[in-house]
């Protein structure tokens, strides 16, 4: 047995976009145990529910995270709509689905870039973000915002996308397809990249299930759990099978996310082909009285929105369980037995969003 030592990792670290601290218990260079601590960027957004009425709170929820902002807004709105028994127009459901899938593409491309940066491939990082920029342009063109759109409202959406705009987006995505395959191909096939990703940070199916891993983290270990199968928004009308892998290492998690980018493009194509004409929002009168658990599949995994209304404009409680929060126990499991040099890579492999986690 080697000499044990404790090495602090974070909260400030070159590869970490956001602060999380890990106390790494090492034996020589091998991690025996990792003890996490969070709380560096807690903003008390859940408490704000007491000060902002349930419609204003949509704009607060959207600001929990800058990457899955749209899906936070959508999950919260759908939760309130269930409490108030509001029927959302079908076109609004399709528009939400299209924006949600575009968000997934932009989130995964962002992650691929950060991941490339973490293993020292700067130009691959730049190319991933160059492609992501085109998705951000689509957001700006359709909603006015590049990262935070503010198009969700209780009862539907605030902005429509004319059919010509949707067709143009599909054409742009078709044109991106070739470039996306070239760039993502480097992650999947390059010898040097593969040497960093393969056989590193295993998470078995049993452990993933036991620790409650969600999203690509769980899917890469064989967990066939995808909240889109619960048919919220327009997912009930679209044909898709969750992408899973049985390997459970860093490579599998990268592969699952890359395949999800292409699956999202396919879902957008299907949604644009099927989107009906009609209103985009329904007028909502009254106040929420009751409670609901809404589960949505964000790029990082399942997010849970619990809302409880008391019949007034202000909710009693809003609780948001975000995917990174659920994936931290799984991260600690993958760190056991890993080399110190692989720790930054493994932390990034869960696609950590600490702003989400701490709210």
């Amino acid at each position: 047995m080697g000499k044990r030592s404790v090495v602090p990792f974070g909260p400030h670290h070159p590869v970490l976009p956001e602060p999380i601290h890990l106390d790494l218990v090492l034996e020589d260079e091998t991690v025996i145990e990792a003890v996490p601590s969070i709380g560096y960027i807690h903003r008390g957004l859940e408490t704000l529910v007491k000060k902002k009425d349930y419609k204003q709170y949509v704009y607060v929820v959207e600001r929990i995270c800058g990457i899955c902002s749209f899906m936070h807004g959508m999950g919260y709105c759908e939760s309130i709509e269930h409490v108030m028994n509001v029927e959302v127009p079908v076109r609004a459901k399709y528009l939400r689905t299209i924006w949600a899938e575009l968000s997934r593409i932009h989130s995964h491309l962002l992650w691929l870039g950060l991941f490339a940066d973490a293993f020292g491939f700067e130009s691959l990082f730049m190319h991933s973000w160059r492609l992501r920029e085109k998705i951000l342009d689509m957001f700006e063109y359709s909603t006015g915002g590049r990262v935070i759109f503010s198009v969700n409202t209780v009862g539907g959406v605030l902005k429509d996308m004319p059919n010509e705009m949707l067709t143009k987006f599909v054409k742009m995505l078709d044109e991106m397809d070739g470039e996306l395959r070239k760039v993502t191909g480097v992650f999947l096939n390059d010898y040097t990249v593969n040497s960093r990703l393969r056989d590193v940070g295993f998470l078995t199916y049993e452990k993933a299930w036991e620790l409650g891993a969600v999203g690509p983290m769980g899917k890469a270990s064989g967990l066939n759990v995808d909240m889109r199968q619960r048919k919220y928004a327009a997912y009930g009308d679209l044909d898709f099978t969750p992408i899973t892998s049985n390997v459970g290492d860093c490579y599998a998690r990268t592969d699952v996310r890359i395949q999800e980018i292409f699956q999202s493009i396919d879902l957008i194509r299907q949604a644009v082909a099927k989107i009906p004409e009609g209103p985009i929002a329904t007028d909502v009168k009254g106040t929420p009285n009751g409670e609901y658990f809404m589960r949505v599949e964000q790029p990082r995994g399942e997010a849970v929105f619990y809302t409880r209304g008391n019949g007034s404009m202000y909710l009693d409680r809003a609780r948001i369980r975000t995917p990174t929060f659920a994936n931290i126990p799984a991260l600690l499991e993958t760190l056991k037995g890993a080399q110190l040099a692989d720790v930054p890579l493994l932390v990034l492999t869960i696609d950590p969003c600490i702003s989400c986690t701490e709210r």
């Binding site: 704009y59 063109y141 503010s150």
Partner: protein, 187 residues
Amino acid sequence: MSKLMSFTGTVLKSLFSKPATTAYPAKPAEYPERTRGHVEMIDVKDCILCGLCEKSCPPGAIKVDRNGGTWSIQRFDCIQCGYCVDKCPKKTLKIIPGYQEPGAEKTPETLVVKDVTAEAEAAGGAKGGKPKANLDECVFCGLCAKNCPASAIEVDRAAKSWKLNEEACVGCGLCKTKCPKKCIEME
């Protein structure tokens, strides 16, 4: 070999093609029509100082002074969510392209809404007065309640009742303009 040279094609293409970035600010950026630049009051004359924008603003960036007749916005607090634009009963607020320029001081931008009384009367309101319905002529159609931006009016057709929540009412006068029987007066 393909595993070792997988990035070469992309590198060569990048080497001989135009940069993906633009020479901003030498070449100005082009913004789409929907860009959320900043909130602008299109026509000061249309503003009736109802205060719905102030009540709706999530970060509290807008302040309406009904007595002083001014509307002000703290641009550094504004999050460009557009909720005030949706709430404005007169549709005089709009989000238009053009970002707030950086500054060293957080000074609110104040607009003087001139001649409040005359403009409010012309728009259907009256000195911030409250609506009162003449129930003899009222047909309890509910259009006033449906159009009320503050949800201050309750109409029950079956019970033939018309109720005003005076605390919620902002005196915008929209109920008066929407009433098909012209039986609402601002008092």
